[in-house]
Amino acid sequence: MILARLLEMADYRGRIFLALLAALAVLVPIANLLVPPDSFLHIGTGTVVLLGKYLTYAILALALDLVWGYCGILSLGHGAFFALGGYAMGMYLMRQIGPRGVYGHPILPDFMVFLNFTELPVTWWGFDNFLYAMLMVVLAPGLLAFVFGWLAFRSRVTGVYLSIITQALTFALLLAFFRNDMGFGGNNGLTDFKDILGFNVQAQSTRVVLFLATLLTLAAAYIFARFMVTSSFGKVLIAIRDAESRVRFLGYRVEHYKLAVFVVSAVLAGIAGALYVPQVGIINPSEFSPTNSIEAVVWVAIGGRGTLVGAALGAFVVNVLKSFFTTGSLAAYWLFVLGGLFVLVTIALPKGILGALEKLAAKRGTRS
């Protein structure tokens, strides 16, 4: 019943998108687990992991589209929320290693032993508990977004100013997480994970399950985002994007709306990060680098902002491209391609791939 109502909210491209996700959810596990490895239909576990990684990026893109595409807040620091969620998950995974580390310390992760920590820092307490860790996945980015957003939106920092201070935010976190005495593994970050909820993270079946979990999260995130943007709340967001002062003079508290969508988006990004870490097996401070955040912006721009589906699509397409370029002799050209995409999309495809496709379709429609 409820599902049907939710599905109703999806427009036609949303339905296509959800159908696509459903197809992936069925086909990928089959092709990986059931099809024999020598068959040409077989999908290797490496590919599953790669797909899973792209899907987490798609969630991040979705989150970014909510704030940028619908509310006009260009955050250049969403990578920070992603990374915070990732670190929370990484900390859980580190605690799961237990005494199996190189130094064999019953509680302390290897890097802490190495850095002469004698006891677990307060920040790490409770992370052996999965539920607590998941709570942190939501709370860490959510709280940061709340405090930051509360300050920024209340004092009406908008436009590029906001973009630049979000970039400074992630830059500051980058520097902070590089420090060893922060107790988050410094330069090397967190890695060498063993298992998650008792299952080996390296195992093929775990990987497939993680892939499915990510897929499901993406679908849920999409439906939730769609619910948001089609509600009156979403209409207010778009109104803020188009004419902020008009909204204010109509009696809306613009800062509350912005804060709400910013926090929701940050939490989504954090969840994406949490799904990312067990799949790629590492989280380190470079995830906070401003380039990461801005790359995520380009996924959204390329896919088509303010469309949700387009954002997810953009994340997927750009990363497939990136994998294609960076594995092989073309590696040196990737930045040319990426840089070119930035320029091309902003000038030639302001509405992204999806927007361009729709325009094309509309033209066809009127002609025939």
């Binding site: 948001m228 002062s245 003079f249 009696g251 709306y257």
Partner: protein, 250 residues
């Protein structure tokens, strides 16, 4: 705290300066409930700034800005609160939500709860389409209800914005240059519309266009360099020597 006044809007001794430039100098304006007032004055006289002060966008350096029989000190509230108190404003440059349909534009303006929570979980959505249609009818845009506001002409956007004000149902409407860029016929219609609105709202209209002001048929205040130069009927103000001087140059 407030002066006893039974005016709906009461401005007295209001001063505003920007970087030393005095945009308003001890401006006084008193409006009773149900009034219609036209504000004229050359460019830069401070008309828009006056509206900024009333609606909380600009805080005055000094002076009283009181609302509702002197019971509310407007300088202590921000834009959203002032809007909730019942003051609506149309900008000089028409400002509508271009990527929303006309219906949605009105929907967002209609009185009702404005917090994010009820917006998300539906209480706002239960607004009757009937009411929306009524408002659009009033500004003669009902036939374009499902069009995007961005597709409207300049004049139509002005009307839509006025319609949004109506939907907000404020006690006081501030209308900044509503006929800029309109044809004569449109101007006529707008004047008619504003008179109609004035039946159950207090209205302040800023306008240059003398024909339009005449058509409004109301008391006129002429601002110059941030303070009131003359006030009275249109004929009295138009005959005022200093007003003529200001408008025509020495």
């Amino acid at each position: 705290m407030e002066k006893r006044t039974n005016a709906l809007l009461y401005l007295d001794g209001v001063n505003v300066s920007f970087d030393g430039f005095k945009a308003l100098r001890s401006l006084t304006l008193i409006l009773a409930a149900g009034d219609m007032r036209a504000i004229i004055g050359p460019n830069g006289a401070g008309k828009t700034t006056m509206m900024d002060v009333i609606t909380g966008k600009t805080k005055p350096d000094s002076g009283d800005v009181l609302f509702a029989d002197g019971s509310v000190d407007l300088t202590r509230h921000d834009e959203a609160e002032i809007a909730e108190l019942g003051i609506g404003r149309k900008f000089q440059k028409p400002t509508v939500f271009e990527s929303h349909t006309l219906v949605d534009n009105i929907l967002l303006a209609l009185a009702g709860r404005r917090d994010p929570f009820s917006a998300l979980f539906g209480t706002r959505a239960r607004i009757s389409p009937q009411r929306i249609r009524e408002v659009l009818d009033k500004v003669r845009l009902a036939d374009k209800a499902e069009r995007l506001a961005g597709e409207l002409s300049h004049g139509q956007k002005q009307w839509l914005e006025i319609a949004m004000l109506l939907a907000q149902n404020p006690k006081l409407l501030l209308v900044d240059e509503p006929v800029a860029g309109m044809t004569d016929a449109e101007t006529e219609t707008t004047a008619e519309l504003l008179r109609e609105i004035n039946r159950d709202h207090t209205v302040v209209v800023v306008e240059h266009d003398m024909h339009f002001v005449r058509a409004l048929d109301c008391r006129v205040t002429c601002l110059h360099e941030g303070s009131v130069l003359a006030e009275g009927t249109i004929d009295a103000v138009a005959a005022n020597e200093r007003v003529v001087e200001v408008y025509l140059g020495r």
